[in-house]
């Protein structure tokens, strides 16, 4: 019996080819577009979050209590090296980077700009966030008085590889101090604050320039998968300011939330309209065949079997649409994930928002599962109204009905 129902449903589902085709195309086109958009938006946000973590905060950052408010080097972590060693002993910590930073004035012979000089160890940064991947031009070295400059700052000051820049700031005793640096590389981290106003130098060079004590740092950045690490470290180091990534960048959390909300609303509206489409087709298809169902029932076929047949008809068409949509959606996502969407023409605008000029999508298998569930539910719900209409009719009424 079940095989008979399936066979009848399959034949009837595609009996009216044009309407079945329209429905399939609608589901396939809307689903593939929705998947591509969802993946692209998620990819944009995920890339921004990932690059911010890699270039700056990690999952957790530690500062001296007042550093983030005062932005002065007097507010530094005195025994940073010891803390780094302690952190590296933890199994849940992947890497730790110590940084020194000082705000000041960066000047060439013709132009000046505000800048932050960050003292780093290139080797640590490479382990921390694959720093070399940020390289735009030049060679990544901080030997001697070499400096690596953020792309927007370099653009602003017209800096090229080999350009000389003077950085002036205040040292620990409050005296004005300056250092001449030569640009060895230009980097683009897609972290707006860093790209617009940061120069990197060797940490030891900056420490000496600022006359800061050995083993001190203004920031300890940590990479870890432990989501409770910030709370644990806050308890371990109560005299320090321990902040999670989202506490440091609340905007990123909002952006992620906005993306989720936007994608959910899009998904809901698209599925609602798809549901209306499937329901329309099923409704008409059932009404056209009321007499046929009346004859089937008078021949002894139970109502439940007719109900199953109608449900399978809707599911067959919807699933063909889903398979095509999933195929085209997967293809679009695969392309966007590997080759990206090239928007170099709008590079300046995108970079000002912290995005790369080539946008890559993020492919999550959840997209396909939720789409499947939504289309399945939409198909099941779409048959309820036609079935209700059919159920209200007696076998004789149905058999005599003229449409």
């Amino acid at each position: 019996m079940f095989r008979l129902i399936l066979s009848l449903a399959y034949k009837n589902a595609f009996l009216r080819r044009s309407r079945a085709l329209l429905l399939i195309v609608m589901i396939a086109v809307s689903m593939s577009m929705m998947l591509a958009l969802e993946g692209l938006y998620d990819g944009m946000t995920a890339s921004m979050v990932e690059k911010t973590k890699r270039s700056d905060s990690g999952e957790v950052s530690i500062y001296a209590k007042e550093f983030r408010q005062e932005r002065t080097i007097q507010e530094n972590i005195k025994d940073a090296k010891k803390i780094q060693e302690e952190l590296l002993l933890r199994k849940d910590v992947k890497s730790v980077s110590l940084r020194l930073q000082a705000d000041g004035l960066c000047a060439t012979a013709k132009k000046s700009s505000f800048a932050t000089l960050i003292g780093i160890e290139l080797e640590d940064e490479q382990g921390f966030g694959d720093f070399s991947e940020f390289l735009e031009t030049g060679s990544l070295t901080l030997r001697g008085h070499k400096t690596v400059v953020g792309k927007e700052l370099a653009k602003d000051l017209k800096l090229k590889i080999g350009s000389k820049v003077i950085f002036s700031t205040q040292d620990m005793s409050g005296e004005i101090t300056a250092v001449a640096l030569r640009v060895s590389a230009i980097v683009q981290t897609n972290n707006i604050a860093l790209d617009k106003g940061t120069m990197y130098v060797n940490r030891e060079l900056l420490r000496k320039l600022l006359q800061m004590p050995k083993n001190s740092a203004t920031q300890i950045a940590i990479r870890s998968d432990n989501t409770r690490l910030a709370q644990e470290l806050s308890a371990q180091y109560p005299d320090l300011d321990v902040k999670s990534f989202l506490a440091l960048y609340p905007m990123m959390e909002q952006m992620q939330e906005i993306t989720v909300i936007f994608n959910s609303i899009t998904f809901f509206i698209v599925m609602l309209v798809v549901f209306i489409g499937i329901m329309g087709v099923t409704y008409v298809s059932v009404l056209e065949r009321v007499r046929e169902f009346g004859v089937m029932r008078s021949l002894g076929m139970p109502y439940s079997a007719i109900k199953s047949q109608i449900l399978f008809e809707a599911l067959f068409v919807a699933m063909v649409g889903y398979i095509l949509g999933a195929f085209f959606g997967f293809s679009a996502l695969y392309y966007l994930e590997n080759y990206g969407l090239d928007l170099k023409e709008f590079a300046d605008g995108l970079e000002s928002f912290g995005y790369a000029s080539v946008l890559y999508a993020d492919m999550k298998y959840d997209y396909f599962i939720t789409s499947f569930a939504a289309i399945f539910i939409a198909s099941v719900l779409s048959v309820l109204l036609p079935l209700r209409r059919l159920r209200k009719m007696s076998v004789i009424e149905a058999t005599k009905l003229q449409i």
């Binding site: 809307s30 000046s112 004005i176 489409g277 329309g280 409704y283 709008f346």
Partner: protein
């Protein structure tokens, strides 16, 4: 024919209601979505223009690219004289800007110090309105410094404190002075409030040896729409190949580009909705027409041409679309108009997005009749487009085939 179309609409209720509601909600959503997108972009641009950037600025070629004292404007008086004759110019002022180091007690900070004409700035920028503490600059003020509240916070200075300034004068000599903090401003633009300070230009010119010199001349227009025409008028009035006249579109190129990208993504997102709605309208039209094949066969056999049948269906779609749009457009337009006057306020938005130059918690909608008109035209176009395939299907039958159709 029109009456017949109307009767058909009333007879085939489910198709009519679906088309009506989908068109209604699509139009409402589209108009409000575009109004919100344009409104937020306009607000960002206007806020930036209002704070300090001019609608047009005149530079010596090379100043923006190379910088340095050799690219300062000379004979500013003559340039200003020529600008007076251009009709669309509402106000203009020359500014001298230089980076320097400000120090107070044990704290120092790099800052952008600008010599400005306090009175003229009142007409051109929001400097005076942004007064937060103390008082705004006066022309007679000598060493008064009007500085950003964030910069003051960083240096830990307050009104009447004296800060030392070190910089380089226009002749590349060393320039140093003591400024007295007279006022603090807060525009909401984090970068501006944290890095800028202003001094009366008369006084600053003496310190920097910059009499009749300026970094650029900033211009405010009566009508911002005519920016390109005015730009050309200024160029021809100045008649100097060493000068360049840049409009806000070039001055804020990055922001303009960022908004273009944002709009592109906005339109891509909305296209998704339209594609789905378009298909559903098409499916319902197709279902309706395929159920009426015999009716069309009868109409054809009593003498109605294919053209007449197409006209009938066109009328049906026209009535349905127009009714939905006539209802949706005023509602959407009124909502857009209301929120253009009384913007949506999202508390804390400017604080969260200050890095992006967002300086207000207000999110206004844009009310533009032309934009609403093309939004409506798009929906109309899509509805008529959705008629094509069903129409082609109907026209594929001969009258005899249509009469026998089951």
């Amino acid at each position: 024919m029109f009456a017949l179309a109307l009767r058909n609409i009333l007879f085939y209720k489910s198709r009519s209601l679906t088309t009506f509601f989908l068109t209604f909600f699509a139009a409402l959503f589209f108009i409000l979505y575009v109004a919100l997108m344009d409104g937020s972009h306009n607000s960002m641009l206007q806020n930036s223009l209002k704070v300090y950037t001019g609608a047009i600025e005149v530079y010596k070629k090379g100043y923006r690219e190379e910088g340095g004292n050799e690219y300062l404007l000379d004979d500013v008086g003559k340039i200003e004289e020529k600008l007076q004759s251009i009709p669309n110019i509402q106000a203009f002022t020359s500014r001298y800007e230089t980076y320097g180091l400000l120090s107070f007690k044990e704290r120092s900070s790099a800052a952008m110090i600008a010599g400005v004409d306090p009175q003229k700035e009142e007409q051109l920028s929001q400097l005076k309105e942004a007064l937060f503490l103390g008082e705004y600059l006066k022309e007679s003020d000598a060493n008064c410094l009007y500085m950003g509240a964030e910069l003051a916070k960083r240096l830990k200075v307050s009104i009447s404190d004296e800060v030392s300034f070190i910089g380089s004068a226009s002749d590349n000599s060393f320039a140093a002075d003591i400024f007295k903090v007279c006022g603090l401003f807060q525009t909401g633009d984090y970068g501006f409030d944290g890095n800028w300070g202003f001094v009366a230009k008369n006084y600053f010119d003496t310190l920097m040896y910059s009499h009749d010199k300026a970094s650029y001349v900033s211009i405010r227009l009566q009508n911002l729409e005519d920016v390109e025409t005015t730009q050309e008028q200024i160029l021809s009035a100045l008649h100097n190949t060493k000068l360049e006249v840049l409009s806000w579109k070039e001055l804020m190129h990055t922001m303009v580009e960022a908004m273009e990208v944002d709009s592109i993504f906005g339109y891509i997102s909305i296209t998704l909705f339209f594609v789905v709605i378009f298909f559903v309208i098409m499916i319902f039209t197709f279902l309706n027409l395929s159920a009426r094949v015999r009716e069309f066969g009868t109409l054809a056999s009593i003498g109605l041409s294919r053209r007449n049948i197409s006209k009938l269906l066109f009328y049906e779609m026209f009535i349905l679309s127009s009714t939905a749009l006539l209802l949706a457009t005023p509602i959407a337009a009124a909502t857009a108009y209301y929120f253009s006057l009384y913007p949506i306020v999202i508390e804390g938005m400017s604080e969260t997005y200050k890095q992006y130059g967002i300086i207000s918690d207000e999110l206004p909608l844009s009310f533009d009749v032309f934009t609403i008109a093309w939004n409506v035209a798009v929906i109309y176009g899509l509805n008529f487009l959705s008629l094509l395939y069903p129409l082609r299907y109907i026209n594929s039958f001969t009258p005899l085939e249509a009469l026998r159709h089951v």
